[in-house]
């Protein structure tokens, strides 16, 4: 286990990089996913088609393929930028499909009467969605959204292989292949790094769930 103590600064830098990737990707995918969920329940057919197509494409493509298109497809059509953002974009696109479906299930769980009442008092579709339906829907989807985000944190290990580098998993690679350290202790260190993010994350979600729970 000495390898973890000896290379602690390296592990910390990897941990911070993973945290950066995850923070941007979580924020992006939650916002984007909710917007797409709005599309999917919208009364405007073209918006519904966009929402359905979005979910079909990104939920069914392997993450590596999505990342390949972001890291190598975008430069091919002239979009040049930092690989960090290509990686984060890929992770957002992929995760947003799952967020969308979780949010949509929440929207469907809100009794139809709520939306009907909102419309009856004269709210527009977007007003009834944002101030009546979504606030109730989001409370019920805290547990599935938590699972989606935790899965995303673990998926971030793949992003490192697409030019982002420096994340926890890449730190493991550096230690095992160029410095010749034994694989198992190095990976245990990597796992601990992920657990430090995911376990408190899960506890926080539990707290949030109890806080926002609604009695029906």
């Amino acid at each position: 286990m000495n390898v973890i103590i000896d290379n602690f600064p390296l592990y910390v830098s990897g941990f911070l990089q993973t945290l950066r990737i995850c923070a941007f990707a979580a924020l992006g995918s939650l916002v984007l996913g909710t917007v797409i969920a709005g599309f999917r329940v919208s009364p405007v057919p073209p918006l519904r088609w966009v929402g359905t197509a979005w979910v079909t494409v990104f939920r069914n493509c392997p993450l590596t393929v999505v990342l390949f298109f972001c890291a190598f497809g975008l430069p091919e059509i002239g979009v040049n930028g930092a690989y960090f953002w290509f990686g984060v974009t890929g992770l957002i696109l992929y995760t947003s499909a799952f967020v969308c479906e979780a949010v949509r299930s929440g929207i469907n769980s809100v009794p139809a009467g709520q939306a009907e009442a909102a419309r009856a008092v004269g709210l527009t579709f977007s007003q009834s969605l944002t101030s009546v339906v979504l606030p109730q829907a989001l409370r019920t989807v805290v547990p599935p959204l938590g699972s989606v985000i935790i899965a995303m944190i673990k998926n971030s290990a793949i992003v490192g292989a697409f030019g982002v580098g420096g994340d926890l998993f890449a730190v493991g690679d550096t230690l095992t292949s160029s410095r010749g350290e034994a694989v198992l202790p190095v990976l245990i260190g990597v796992v601990l790094g992920y657990l430090v993010i995911t376990i408190p994350g899960g506890l926080l979600l539990g707290l949030l769930e109890r806080k926002v729970a609604i009695a029906r």
């Binding site: 190598f72 430069p75 040049n80 030019g163 982002v164 580098g165 095992t176 160029s178």
Partner: protein, 293 residues
């Protein structure tokens, strides 16, 4: 349609790669080193055990053009593979009795320690850190870290990179990726898991240079059909050794003697000419082998 162009490009590249792999395997199949049928060794040594078993497990790369690349026929080809065949032949084991085990960089020490392979010939740089866990015979070749750039680039060495603020690509966890930090800022180093992605990033202009051992770059330059060139000024020394179980001095000595004999009778030169020599015609001289310990 731009997307279609991209897809056609990818397919063409894949085809070109697989064709290159085909060419390699069919040519080098022409002559395996002659097997020493009368090989006999002191009882109890690794050589005796292997020789009696009549087969050997060799760890090599399966994705390294010119050194160890697995072709469509399922057999790896390249200089590393030929070197391993030379050693096997000296043990009285013919090439078809060699079991090839893919050995990615990060698993090489594990495979040797756990006895999954008898020796590793896989562009394996000898260094002190690795010597703590395995022993090395050889070196059988000395590579050096170099840069690959686009053919019209004016970069002439690692010092020029910093001045130009250029981005450099390499592979996560590789020795070259660590070394290049002395020349460029961390933020300008782009890391992928394989070199082929680096080549693609260089082509689209996302990075201005790719760095690793010159012989690995040669394979990529060869595959680029003239789009890329090698800067040609190696700035490190990377002696490639043959990894064996730690402390097996007799086996190490035997491999060293085999290498020297191969250099003397032309087998070493033939191995080079059949593989990497197709791109780098100047046959290297066998480096002075290190003492076994």
């Amino acid at each position: 349609m731009r997307l279609r162009g991209l897809m056609v490009g990818t397919v063409t590249a894949a085809l070109a790669l697989s064709l290159a792999a085909c060419g390699g395997s069919s040519d080098s199949g022409s002559g395996n080193p002659s097997v020493d049928a009368k090989a006999s060794f002191e009882a109890g040594t690794t050589m005796a055990t292997l020789s009696q078993a009549g087969k050997i497990r060799v760890g090599t790369k399966f994705d390294q053009p010119l050194f160890g690349l697995k072709g469509l026929d399922g057999k790896p080809t390249g200089f590393d593979v030929e070197v391993a065949k030379l050693v096997a032949a000296k043990l009285g084991i013919s090439a078809d009795k060699i079991e090839w085990v893919e050995s990615q960089s990060k698993f090489r020490e594990e495979y040797i320690e756990q006895g999954k392979v008898d020796l590793v010939v896989a562009t394996y740089t000898i260094n002190d850190k690795r010597k703590e866990r395995v022993s090395f015979a050889g070196p059988y070749y000395e590579a050096g870290q170099d840069l690959m750039v686009k053919k019209d680039s004016t970069v002439d060495g690692p010092e020029a990179l910093k001045a130009a603020g250029a981005k450099v690509c390499s592979v996560t966890g590789s020795t070259p990726a660590e070394k290049i930090k002395e020349y460029v800022d961390q933020s300008n180093i782009v890391l992928f898991d394989v070199y082929s992605k680096c080549a693609d990033a260089l082509r689209t202009g996302q990075v201005q240079a790719v760095t690793t051992d010159n012989v690995i770059l040669l394979g990529l330059v060869d595959a680029s059909k003239g789009d890329f060139k090698l800067v040609g000024k190696p700035f490190t020394k990377e002696p490639y050794g043959i990894g064996i179980k730690k402390g097996d001095t007799k086996f190490c000595q035997f491999v060293n003697d085999t290498l020297k004999a191969a250099a003397a009778d032309g087998a070493y030169e033939k191995a080079w000419k059949d593989t990497a020599g197709k791109v780098a015609p100047n046959t290297p001289k066998l480096p002075e082998t290190a003492t076994c310990s």
